[in-house]
């Protein structure tokens, strides 16, 4: 019984979401608000579990008292619920932003800059390699903002065409995954809900 109720509720919500394609309507609005409640509920539960395992657990069981610092910084965020004391959350935001910035800065320079530039250093022995290096250079110059001279302008134009080819290719390539997502839901409605075919 629980299984069939689950399938019916899932089908009801699936069709509710698809109903937006015709027009925004109460059926979609209901599915949307249930989605807000469910997704925030799941985030809260996984957030609590995470807090237990990484912060409260080590503090209580392995008495790592320094865990009080992140917990305190975390609680300071709640000051944002007031107007007067909202500034007290800035230290916590500073910490969040600082750690993220450091991890990003190191990763960006290593994996996104040096390793990619080194990978572009190809032997110009084959036509494809020559084309690849020229197109990469042209497209990279598109991201120069302070170049004024005219010849650079022409290279940047070629760069923009390369980017358009890349965007078009990615669009064409993504169509497959979008269709497969819909076929996944159609398979659910046809075979698990309506039980036709198969």
């Amino acid at each position: 019984m629980a299984a069939t109720l689950s399938v019916w509720l899932a089908a009801f919500l699936t069709l509710g979401v698809f109903s937006w394609m015709y027009k925004e309507n109460p059926w979609f609005h209901f599915a949307e608000n249930m989605y807000i409640g469910a997704s925030l509920g799941h985030l809260a539960v996984t957030g609590f579990q995470n807090l237990k395992e990484i912060a409260v657990g080590p503090l209580v069981n392995e008495n790592k008292y320094y865990m009080l610092i992140p917990i305190l910084l975390g609680m300071l965020l709640f000051s944002r619920w007031t107007d007067k004391y909202a500034w007290m959350s800035r230290a916590s935001m500073g910490f969040l932003v600082g750690t993220t910035a450091a991890v990003v800065m190191m990763g960006a320079i290593r994996a996104q800059l040096i390793q990619q530039v080194v990978a572009t250093m190809m032997p110009l022995t084959s036509i494809n390699n020559v084309i690849f290096v020229v197109l990469t250079i042209a497209a990279t110059t598109y991201f120069l903002f302070t170049m004024r001279n005219k010849s650079a302008q022409k290279v940047m134009d070629l760069g923009k065409y390369v980017l358009m080819v890349a965007f078009g290719a990615t669009f064409g390539n993504t169509v497959m995954s979008r269709i497969s997502l819909f076929t996944g839901r159609a398979q659910f409605l046809l075979f698990q809900w309506l039980k036709i075919g198969q």
């Binding site: 689950s6 609680m75 080819v165």
Partner: protein, 208 residues
Amino acid sequence: MQFLKNQLPVVVTFVAAVTIVLNFYVDIPGLETVSNELVRWNVVLAAFALILGIGNIIKLHLKKIVRHEPDVFYSYVTLGTLAVFIIVGVVDTTEGSTYQWLWDSILLPLESTMYATTMFFITSAAYRAFRVKNAYAAVLMVSAILMMLRVGIFASFMPFTPDVAAWIWDIPNTAGMRAVVVGTALSLAGNAFRIITGLERGHLGGGT
């Protein structure tokens, strides 16, 4: 008091970030564990920020209920579902069968169907947005169509399409996407640098 409000956040950002950056370059005994600990604290704070965010939503919908606003029904739906998920999640943990039931009946269908709507939006984008208004749009369209021609049905009676698509994918596409990656790498690093040194504080309430 002024120090707490404006300077302390920047000092916290700087100290936390420099520890991680230093650990990236140099092998100082003990620095590795401190740096890993800071990275893990990031996860702890994100969990608290989550509770803050959920608090905002509860406040928003409670206000609607108290003020008897027109579509107050939807606020009951949101708060009701939120309460059910939290109670079952805490009592039964995410591995419990009741929570699995909630997941399969509510969250799974909503998330996967929401993503499936992209097929419709790609259809209207193909018809509406892919109009050749200038030379760039023409290149965008031709490249998209050449990629789409590599799929089974076309590949069978036009055997060259997979190779054309593969060439477009390996050469111009990878070149263009690599340029975006390289072009953006420095902006990401530069932005991170400004934040670490406190030169950029827009998000902390002090402008630059």
